[in-house]
């Protein structure tokens, strides 16, 4: 198991390098030049100096290696400096945003917390709703509860988040006026009043995320639970006279949870991707919003770094899912 984990970790490194190269090359070799944003009235020599100042006149592989060094060496050094007050980073060049001339990671660090709070709360609530519904739906297959649950899950799964979000805003923010229609990023939680305002403004976006993912998770839980409930060992447990709750919880549920937990881990990166849309709907100032802003402004370093962070999240959670699967299911051997 340990060697398997180590091997998977080592394999993740070339994957990440390949992905970063892919993203870098695609952004770099695309026909739309980032310099097209420079007004034409600027004389050519000034233009050349501007390009040189941004470091865009170097060959592709030099810039790729520089970006790699900045991402994996310089930025962590600055992070450690920030934590412990050391000066590992020295005066090395950080990845700078072309829009704001501020280090990309300062912008991301500023916004990541907000995205994590909203998205994390949504996902936790989704799982908390979906697991019991999925389990009970499977236990009482074809009951009215199951029929209703499956129907609602199908709707939740089919209606795109940008429509649910807009719909919730129209109903609860515009017509009823219960919730604010956008997210106020300047709100600091200091006391109870500001905490409740924070919860209040998070309610709608969290609901949108929770609804969509609850639909997905409950569908999955239901089918996994149906699979295990039909297994021979469940029949054996019933036949030997085990209590019904023991049968369902200990024999069926524990086995049904193995693929469900894997799917929960695999779903994590997709909620970060989905956060792009939710953040746009509710005007949340998170990393999804940062990506859209950077794309609109052709801020290539920001776009490259953010896209790579999304990719790293996927690779990381794939790894977590694989390892969890191996840890929870003793039938799986990695020799």
């Amino acid at each position: 198991m340990l060697t398997y984990a180590l091997r998977r970790l080592l394999l993740a490194i070339p994957t990440l390098l390949l992905i970063s190269l892919f993203i870098f090359l695609m952004v770099d070799l695309a026909p739309g030049s980032p310099m097209s944003e420079i007004p034409r009235s600027i004389p050519p020599e000034t233009r050349a100096r501007m390009i040189a100042a941004l470091g865009a006149d170097q060959p592709v592989f030099v810039r790729y290696l520089l970006w790699l060094k900045q991402f994996f060496v310089v930025e962590p050094a600055y992070l450690i400096d920030g934590w412990f007050g050391t000066s590992l980073g020295g005066d090395q060049q950080r990845i700078l945003s072309w829009q704001s001339r501020a280090p990309v990671f300062d912008v991301i660090g500023d916004r990541l917390g907000r995205t994590m709070t909203v998205v994390g709360a949504g996902y936790v609530i989704a799982a908390a709703i979906a697991l019991p519904i999925g389990i009970y739906s499977a236990y009482r297959q074809y009951s009215w509860f199951d029929q209703l649950g499956t129907f609602v899950a199908m709707i939740g799964y089919s209606v795109p988040t940008f429509f649910t979000g807009v719909l919730l805003i129209v109903i609860f923010a515009v017509n009823l006026g219960w919730f604010p229609s956008y997210y106020d990023a300047s709100l600091k939680v200091k006391d109870f009043a500001s905490l409740s305002r924070q919860v209040w403004q998070m309610a709608l976006p969290v609901t949108v995320i929770a609804l969509f993912h609850a639909a997905e998770i409950s569908r999955y839980t239901r089918s996994s639970m149906l699979d295990t409930l039909g297994q021979d060992y469940v029949r054996t447990a019933r036949a030997k006279g085990a209590l019904e709750q023991t049968v369902v919880i200990k024999h069926a549920l524990r086995n049904a949870m193995i693929p469900v937990i894997t799917v929960l881990a695999l779903g994590m990166p997709s909620i970060f991707g989905g956060s792009i849309i939710v953040e746009q709907v509710f005007k949340i100032n998170g990393i999804g919003g940062a990506l859209i802003g950077a794309i609109v402004a052709s801020d290539l370093p920001m776009v490259q770094t953010l896209t790579f962070i999304f990719a790293a999240l996927i690779v990381f959670f794939n790894l977590v899912a694989d390892l969890l699967y191996g840890m929870m299911d003793p039938r799986i051997r990695y020799d």
Partner: protein, 309 residues
């Protein structure tokens, strides 16, 4: 007439599709979904003949234009008008055609690429490793961010080369298709690996059938059912992805309505005119819901374990 007499006593081989259709017909959700989808497709195809207002028509005189702006639904404009006085129903019909076309073409690309990769990986042993690594690699890419980046980078160049409508259409369709073939490839590869060991393939090979013929006549017809299920799911997700891109402002250009674009434009006015977001949103949701139900029905109908019962 032969239907009642056939059955158990007929020695005529039943087409396997008859059984599939029989199962599909009894799946209530799938039938309702199919009806809704067919209605929407008909509306989008036939509608513009019945409802002949030009979706791009703006009253030429400024005073008339001001008067026809942001109208609530009425007989003259069943879905109201937008901020330039254009008829929303006409724009919905025109937009639906684009949205559905994008979904269909993107799905076709994804299925073609996915099936090709899957068949090659399953059938040609030395290609299996590299192609599956490629599939894993694509699965590890952050797709929505990448799609956004692709649109940003290539939109202007393609629009310049091919014209703004065709360029954007090809870009979006290609981008969605090339980032969503992986599921189909995995499913097809698994099926092909199993089929390759079956006796009829061995028989075909032993009488000297060339590999290409084996793939075309023996392998492909047998992977059709998982491919069909993957196709319905791909159709739905392609429609959602296109709408999401348009919703983020990185899809089709402003004067080129799609359902996602109409929703995006409606958001600005949703405080006063909730209809502006309601109609396109409902259209997208109904389409996707219908397709997903069809997919559910197909999966049940094509599952051989269920057909035996």
């Amino acid at each position: 007439m032969t239907d009642t007499n056939a059955g158990a006593f007929s020695d005529r081989a039943h087409s396997p599709w008859a059984g599939v259709w029989r199962k599909f017909r009894h799946h209530v959700g799938a039938m309702v979904g199919a009806a809704v989808l067919i209605l929407l497709i008909l509306a989008v195809l036939v509608g513009p003949w019945l409802w002949q207002i030009d979706p791009a028509f703006i009253e030429p005189k400024a005073a008339d234009m001001m008067r026809t702006r942001n109208l609530a639904p009425s007989l003259a404009h069943p879905m109201g008008t937008d901020q330039l006085g254009r008829d929303t129903l006409a724009r919905m019909l025109a937009g639906g055609k684009v949205s559905l076309a994008v979904g269909l073409v993107a799905m076709a690309i994804a299925i073609l690429v996915g099936t090709a990769v899957g068949v090659l990986a399953g059938f040609v042993r030395w290609l299996d490793g590299p192609l599956m690594r490629l599939t894993d690699f694509f699965l590890a890419l952050p797709l929505l961010p990448l799609l956004l980046v692709m649109v940003m980078l290539f939109r202007d160049a393609l629009a310049g080369a091919l014209g703004i409508e065709l360029g954007t259409f090809l870009l979006i369709v290609g981008a969605i298709g090339l980032t969503s073939w992986m599921q189909a490839a995995r499913v097809v590869r698994g099926e092909v690996l199993a089929l390759k060991e079956r006796e009829f393939v061995l028989a075909a090979r032993s009488i000297g059938t060339p590999p290409l013929r084996i793939i075309l006549t023996h392998i492909l017809p047998n992977v059709l059912s998982p491919v069909m299920v993957a196709a319905t799911l791909g159709f739905a997700s392609a429609i959602i992805t296109e709408s999401a891109l348009s919703f983020l402002g990185l899809g089709f250009p402003p004067d080129f309505p799609t359902w996602g674009r109409l929703l995006y434009e409606g958001v600005e006015y949703m405080q006063m005119e909730p209809n502006r977001v309601l109609f396109p949103g409902l259209a997208i949701s109904l389409t996707v819901l219908g397709i997903n139900y069809i997919g559910d029905g197909l999966r049940d109908a094509l599952d051989p374990r269920q057909r035996l019962r």
